[in-house]
């Protein structure tokens, strides 16, 4: 078997340059127990240390005097005892990220059953069996300690060998280090949400854009776009909340160049773990393709790619096969392009780092990222009492300038129904058939379709435009029939959809008969161009192309050629749309014609032809759960206030929120609706999440699901673990400022008949 050759080295040298006391080799390493029958015992000591990453010694938190903490190497099937000595001057905790274990051992103070944290000076013993294998990690679940260095890798060896071979095994643990006190970081964000953004749109950049613009129309579009963002009081350059980071691989800076050693011809397993508190990374290894074999600890059908994006808390295991002897560079570029984490793959240790490439263009948020069609609202929220948004948690969208507004239903109690209708109508490019002529504003008749699985023309009552959208919310919420209808869609993948399967448009037409269209979660027509139809050949294009894009998109006459940004901008297309009260510009500005972005599109800014991993590529090799429909849909709207910097779920911060209650044994569908302009990697403790990517029984099992801005994403959860579980965004500052819930899975034999 391969061994984790990185462990000792990274532990001892990993970035701790200025520790007062000498490191104690071996204390935290996986020590063989006394006998097979006894649980193996591990000792972890949590301490304040001084860490020098940037040249300034700064306070940090270390585990066994190491940052990252020692590699915990467990074996599937064994039981472990872990003694955690808290030598801090404050409370702490350790959460074993991704592990399936009893709630009481999960390590979230105040949420895990009976666990209130480890008080200063105390030692707490964790004890749990390991029922899984793969790559995981562990970190503090108290305050912002994780940002201060309190994280480490956790590897569980499988009882049966993994279904793929490799010769070398390395952990690539990515993280973000700041010299600032993490608490201060939150304070800075609270008083100025743009505090860390030094890539704002400026007068200078406006002048440059205008100078580059080819004609008056383009200039006008640029000005209009600026005014629109100003009008909305949002910032399209707000990609990363926090900057000033130094990005690390196994605790090492790019200059310290962590090196994975190989001999030509060997297969190297790289276990990527994103332990960044606030950073997404776009990962690539120029010169090598990567075969993803495991995602979030679960083996997947191998898929070969060139790049992937890894959200905080995610893990991906990849295999690489360098055939010749040279130095390769593992590049993990932060999503906001503020820096790289980098490491090397080389035939020997100690080589200097290769020069870092120039940064790719910074992405910009688009109107699409504001979302638009969030689908039906007011579903079951899983809470015991009804829950309403607190004021100040949902961005107002009722500006007069947003012309499409009156259609959109986004004001106040607006509901999805009306927006659904809009979507169909405003998307000439989304005609489900080949090149159906103008659909106009959805006056009922849809063009005949050539795509059998989504042949909406056969559906009775498809008058989208007349749908009573506004104000439907409450009626939906209280309509049990709706739940039934939406929950009983048969699962089937769309033929020909290939790697671009619709997440939600899986229903066969039979089941759609007589269904109120507004209720159909699957009727996400925005995704249509990606349906593998010849008329929509292209995958979403680079976000960087979108800056002056709105105008261009609107004028792109060929509906078929729309790229993703065009969809996002409402794809008003050729002006057929403008026949009523919506000028093209209005359609762009408003949400009326706007489609939600593809929840799975990943745009790393890679050149065309690059294979970029998306959740759709992930096919679980084994799925322990039966294929069945969820018995209800729980709406999880990701909300928050960007201006005051607090975050929430369903319009309530953690401090004011009720738990979401699930019944043991039931299968629920969490419908994530991201109403903010940031990505949120949502992590549910204790149970697996199965995003409905369209792979049926092979939908991947993930512990963290990244939800793009403005998108809607369905995730099924089998509630098979009793107890209290944390459920939160894994952006640390988002969690800390409120984007968190308790999920309670309760035994209720009388009710638990859904399965």
């Amino acid at each position: 078997m391969a061994e984790i050759s990185v462990s000792r080295r990274s532990m001892l040298a990993g970035g701790i340059a200025a520790i007062a006391a000498p490191a104690l080799p071996g204390t935290g390493l996986a020590q063989p127990g006394l006998g097979r029958a006894l649980p193996r015992e591990f000792n972890l000591a949590i301490e304040h240390v001084t860490l020098n990453i940037t040249g300034r010694p700064r306070p940090a938190i270390a585990i066994n005097r190491q940052v990252p903490g020692p590699v915990l190497k467990f074996r599937e099937g064994e039981e472990v005892l872990i003694n955690v000595a808290n030598r801090l001057r404050e409370e702490t905790s350790i959460h074993w990220h991704g592990l399936i274990l009893p709630s009481g051992q999960d390590g979230v103070p105040g949420i895990s059953d009976g666990f209130q944290g480890i008080a200063a000076g105390q030692t707490h013993q964790y004890r749990f069996p390991l029922v899984q294998s793969g790559t995981y990690w562990y970190h503090s679940h108290s305050g912002t300690q994780e940002q201060a260095g309190f994280y480490g890798p956790l590897i569980i060896e499988p009882t049966r060998p993994d279904p793929f071979g490799y010769d070398r095994d390395y952990i690539i643990q990515l993280s973000d280090w700041t010299d600032e006190n993490p608490h201060r970081v939150i304070q800075n964000l609270k008083r100025d949400p743009g505090y860390y953004n030094y890539n704002k749109r400026t007068a200078a950049s406006l002048a440059a854009e205008l100078a580059r613009a080819p004609n008056a129309a383009a200039r006008e579009a640029i000005i209009r776009d600026r005014m629109m963002w100003g009008q909305m009081r949002m910032d399209p350059t707000d990609i990363e909340d926090v900057t000033g980071y130094t990005f690390l691989v196994n605790g090492r800076t790019p200059q310290q160049n962590f090196t994975a050693v190989y001999r030509p011809g060997e297969t190297v397993r790289l276990r990527f773990i994103n332990s960044g508190a606030m950073s997404h990374f776009d990962v690539r290894i120029p010169g090598l393709e990567m075969t993803v074999v495991q995602a979030h600890g679960n083996n997947v059908q191998p898929v070969t790619i060139d790049e992937f994006r890894i959200a905080p808390a995610e893990t991906f295991d990849v295999l690489v096969r360098p055939t010749n002897a040279r130095q390769f560079q593992i590049l993990a570029e932060s999503m906001g392009r503020q820096g790289f984490a980098s490491a090397s793959i080389a035939t020997q240790e100690g080589l200097p780092m290769l020069a870092l490439p120039p940064h790719r263009e910074r992405p910009l948020l688009t109107m699409a990222d504001m979302g638009g069609d969030y689908g039906p609202k007011g579903l079951d929220r899983g809470t015991l009492r009804p829950e309403t948004d607190r004021p100040g948690q949902i961005a107002p969208m009722d500006m007069g300038s947003m012309g499409g507004m009156d259609h959109s239903g986004m004001t106040g109690g607006g509901a999805g129904g009306g927006m659904q209708g809009m979507d169909h109508s405003n998307m000439p490019g989304m005609n489900h058939g080949t090149s159906a002529p103008s659909v106009g504003r959805g006056r009922g008749s849809m063009a005949p379709s050539s795509a059998p699985a989504v042949d909406h023309s056969n559906m009775p009552g498809m008058d989208h435009s007349t749908m009573p959208g506004m104000g439907r919310r409450s009626s939906l919420a209280s309509d049990p029939g709706f739940r039934l209808a939406s929950a009983s869609l048969p699962t089937a993948s769309v033929p020909g959809a290939g790697g671009f399967t619709l997440v939600q448009a899986r229903q066969g037409q039979g089941s759609m008969q007589g269904m109120d269209h507004s209720n159909m979660p699957g009727m996400d027509h925005s995704n249509m161009p990606g349906m593998g139809q010849q008329t929509a050949p292209s995958r979403p294009q680079g976000r960087q192309n979108q800056q002056p894009a709105p105008r261009r998109d609107q004028r792109s006459a060929a509906p078929a050629a729309q790229d993703h940004s065009a969809m996002g901008h409402g794809a008003p297309g050729t002006g057929q749309v403008g026949q009523v009260d919506m000028s093209a510009a209005n359609a762009h500005a408003g949400h009326g014609g706007m489609a939600p972005p593809d929840p799975f599109a990943v745009n790393t800014g890679a050149p065309p032809g690059t294979r970029v991993l998306t959740y759709r590529h992930l096919k679980a090799l084994s799925n322990p759960y039966p294929v069945r429909e969820p018995n209800r849909i729980i709406e999880v709207r990701l909300t928050g206030n960007m201006e005051r910097y607090f975050w929430a779920i369903n319009g309530n911060r953690f401090s004011e929120a009720q738990p979401i209650v699930l019944t043991l044994g039931e299968r629920v569908r969490m419908r994530f609706i991201n109403e903010t302009m940031m990505s949120h990697p949502m992590h549910l403790h204790g149970v697996w999440m199965q995003p409905q990517v369209g792979n049926g029984a092979q939908n991947p099992l993930l512990h963290t699901v990244s939800v793009r801005p403005g998108s809607t994403l369905d995730v099924d959860v089998e509630a098979d673990a009793e107890g209290g579980w944390a459920f939160h965004c894994h952006m640390l500052m988002h969690m800390e400022t409120g984007m968190m819930r308790k999920v309670e899975i309760r035994r209720q034999p009388r009710v638990a008949s859904a399965g």
Binding site: G143, R184, T202, G392
Partner: protein, 264 residues
Amino acid sequence: MVVEQAPVRLSSASLLPVLTLLGALWAVDAGAQQAASQNAAHDPGAHAASSHELYYGAVLFEKLEWGVGLDGSPNVARWDGQAWYGTDYDKIWLKTQGEVERGRRAENAEVQLLYSHLIGYYWDFQAGIRYDPRPRPDRTYGVIGIQGLAPGLFEVDLQGFVSERGDVSARLELSYDIYVTQRLVLQPNAEINVALQKVPELGVGSGFNDIEAGLRLRYEFTREVAPYIGVNYTRRFADTARYARRENERVASVEFLTGVRLYF
């Protein structure tokens, strides 16, 4: 730092209450920060998995400046600051502003202590008291207002006042940050005062009293410290102007400004 500068510049005993308040606030904030920075791990959020409200505060001096009068206008020292502390929804808010003319008796200063509550995505509702130690006679007011960010990214502070004598007045402050580059910021701002009744002893007429418009160009060395230059124009109207003339003050004045914006 702010507090130490202020008395030197303004050197007026009448400002003592203001400065005391500011000083206390500063000390609280500095103390908290010091405690926090003693070790990176100290974290009030470390308790009970964030089942808590987080308390944060900030101190902002938008204006801390010296104006050189142009065209015969008097030189003037001016400050305008605010500080707050509390949760996302509920805060204690302290505001102060004032100015001192060199070589003149005319000076004004005010301090407000407000409770602030978030009522919408961009807006705080605020209510509390205002005390003006200058001009004489000193006055106390009840304050009600909203503060926030209007469409177009305008910072807005709209306040209504009722004095202890029952006089009603209002003030609107607007400002806008134009980022010329990532660190160079041009900030136009305007302040308009209106009053329902005339209050001759304070030099306040009824109707539009005065307007103040400024243009400041700051360079953000950090977000915390940003020195600036600028111009400020003040103009009094109607009765207010008449009262000013009677006091031998100017109706309109223009100054060239140098100052520093502080934000902690």
